[in-house]
């Protein structure tokens, strides 16, 4: 069975080639809907790659976020951008529609990148293309070279993290880095999420989606899945202390559950759309910042929890952050300010 030893490498080569091909097609296919569909497939394959790289934490976030929420966001935006094209696709026969997909001249269809700036001198354009090609090639070459040269076995910061793991209050190194050793990254990151939502809310007051009646089958599925997803999110928060999981993964699953519920016609009750929603959205940053500042009163540095109750502090922060991340992601998808 000696030939089997090459199998993992073969799998990774296939995965890498698939990723490159999907990305290239998503960025070059003339039809925007096709591009978005390919990008969603790209996210799913990327999830597999994270598992191959022993990055289960990242895989758990990539599948609901990179493939799920991003895909839903792109499709919702696309359906608003090109209603004309979506209608034009409903051709009388399916085979015909397939043939048409390539060059449907819809309202915003991406036709003819080539005939852009026709009147510029051909020499100038050729020169521009050559310079850009050269620069990109140089960038690819140096990026590849750097990767190659860095490629000696190195444990990076694994040793330091493992040494200090007992003081962190959790047993899983990635959670320890996120919530304790580099807590300020995570705090600022949740703040960035909140800022993005404020930006989206200030740009649009109406929701992304029309009020079409939901499909009954989809409604049935989301009645089945939503409670399960909430259960999975709770499990992920809890398991994050000693295994892959934690606030981000759990929040991603919650956000995906929110997207699914919204698609199947569920609305936030009118009473909850005002300050209760805003309270949940801000809870993560508020609790994180409060605990991070409160420890200063105990003589610790900013965000330096005393070892004795680090475990409890992290759990409280993670619960608040999970709720906020889930609510923010779902609100980002819904779009307009409620």
């Amino acid at each position: 069975m000696a030939w089997l030893t090459g199998l993992p490498l073969a799998v990774d080569l296939v995965l890498g080639a698939t990723l490159l091909w999907l990305a290239w097609r998503a960025l070059s296919s003339p039809d925007l809907f096709q591009a978005v569909a390919l990008f969603i497939a790209f996210g799913v394959i990327l999830g597999l790659v994270w598992a191959r790289l022993d990055a289960i934490d990242i895989a758990l976030a990539e599948i609901p976020l990179g493939a799920g929420v991003t895909g839903a966001l792109l499709l919702a935006a696309l359906s608003q951008l090109q209603p004309a094209e979506v209608d034009a696709r409903a051709a009388p026969s399916a085979t015909e529609a397939n043939e048409h997909q390539a060059g449907q001249p819809g309202q915003t269809a991406e036709t003819a990148d080539a005939d852009e700036a026709q009147h510029k001198p051909a020499v100038f354009r050729a020169l521009l293309a050559a310079v850009m090609g050269l620069l990109l090639f140089a960038a690819l070459f140096s990026l590849g070279l750097v990767t190659w040269q860095l490629w000696e076995p190195s444990s990076g910061l694994t040793q330091q993290v493992n040494t200090h793991l007992p003081e962190s209050g959790v047993e899983h190194p990635v959670t320890a880095v996120l919530l304790n050793f580099r807590g300020y990254d995570t705090l600022l990151e949740i703040a960035v999420l909140l800022l993005a939502l404020i930006g989206v809310w200030s740009l649009a007051t109406a929701s992304n989606l029309g009020d079409t009646t939901p499909e009954p089958v989809l409604a049935a599925l989301s009645r089945l899945l939503a409670p399960l997803m909430i259960l999975v999110a709770a499990y992920l928060v809890w398991v994050g202390a000693h295994a892959p999981g934690g606030a981000f993964q759990a929040g991603s699953v919650l956000g995906a559950a929110g997207v699914l519920l919204r698609l199947s016609g569920w609305r936030l009750p009118a009473g909850a759309a005002g300050w209760p929603l805003r309270l949940v959205l801000a809870l993560g940053v508020a609790v994180f910042a409060f605990i991070g500042l409160a420890v200063i009163g105990l003589g610790e540095p900013l965000l330096g929890y005393p070892t004795a109750w680090a475990k409890h502090a992290i759990l409280v922060i993670e619960l608040a952050a999970t709720l906020s991340i889930g609510a923010i992601l779902a609100s980002l998808f819904i779009g307009g300010r409620p």
Binding site: A90, A94, A220, L225, L228
Partner: protein, 97 residues
């Protein structure tokens, strides 16, 4: 013995996935493609899950694998129903010979 049975099931599952993918690429219209995709993938994943169950370390892992299969059945049935009903509403006629 158990290991070789597991390998046989995994390979059989992979064969169904391959068949479903070929069907999706080669069949003439959206309905037959959905048929190929969901039939072959549901059964293919069932076989893969069964093969992995034989290698599972604990009963809990067996249960998780089974739940994964059930969830995928529900999700793929819903997704294919959504695609098919959208196609029907928008006038994609089924392929006839």
């Amino acid at each position: 013995m158990l290991a070789s049975l597991s390998v046989v099931l995994l390979l059989a599952g992979a064969a169904f996935f391959l068949g479903g993918s070929v069907g999706m690429l080669r069949f003439p219209d959206v309905y037959t493609r959905l048929h190929a995709l969901t039939k072959a993938d549901n059964l293919g994943l069932g076989l893969v899950v069964l093969g992995l169950m034989l290698q599972a370390e604990s009963l809990a892992a067996v249960g998780k694998l089974f739940v994964i299969w059930l969830l995928l059945l529900a999700a793929s049935a819903t997704a294919s129903q959504l695609v098919a009903s959208w196609a029907q509403e928008n006038g994609f006629a089924p392929w006839r010979g």
